[in-house]
Symmetry: C2
Subunit: 121 residues, 2 copies
Amino acid sequence: MTTVPVLDPELAARLKRTPDGLVCAVVQQYDTREVLMVAWMSDEALARTLTTREATYWSRSRQELWIKGATSGHTQAVHEVRLDCDGDTLLVLVDQQGAACHTGDRTCFDADVLLGADVAR
Amino acid sequence: MTTVPVLDPELAARLKRTPDGLVCAVVQQYDTREVLMVAWMSDEALARTLTTREATYWSRSRQELWIKGATSGHTQAVHEVRLDCDGDTLLVLVDQQGAACHTGDRTCFDADVLLGADVAR
């Protein structure tokens, strides 16, 4: 791709970003409704996600754009993107190929249960 | 309540907090799997949530503990709490009474669709 997607200015004006210019993205499997992971998007990551329908984030650890699955093959085809009432969080509904988590788990929330359902009121 | 719940030290050591000492909490309806909202928890908010099973957050705007529904009646009975692979995000499964969103919508993601499902690949 030789052109950089630019976010619609009307949408850009509605985003409330962290001091480092990011919005939180909750990523959910579109059919099973599993919450897969949480990541962060810059304006460019969001513009690319909306334009290409390939989920694209900003890697805070690597400080670079990150097309999910570009290395692992575990891509996310984007079905739907919603913005929350505060303008600071996105809900991204995707079709996840393989594992969402870098550990190989299906979701990033599979491994560590702090409070179980079995004693729920 | 006269005693302040304290977070288990082993758990506290595993959390990766923002510079202001918070972890992100994704809140999901336990049965329908709707993502209701995203909020933030301090150590005390998490300890209270785990102890009381009443979802409790840290309000960044008011800079105070916030028992969800204490004012509105729209409480969240906590069924399950999970920590993600990075230790910086919680998934909180709840039974939401009424609207999760302060606008009166069921979820904070109901109103603003940036990219629709109807043209999904």
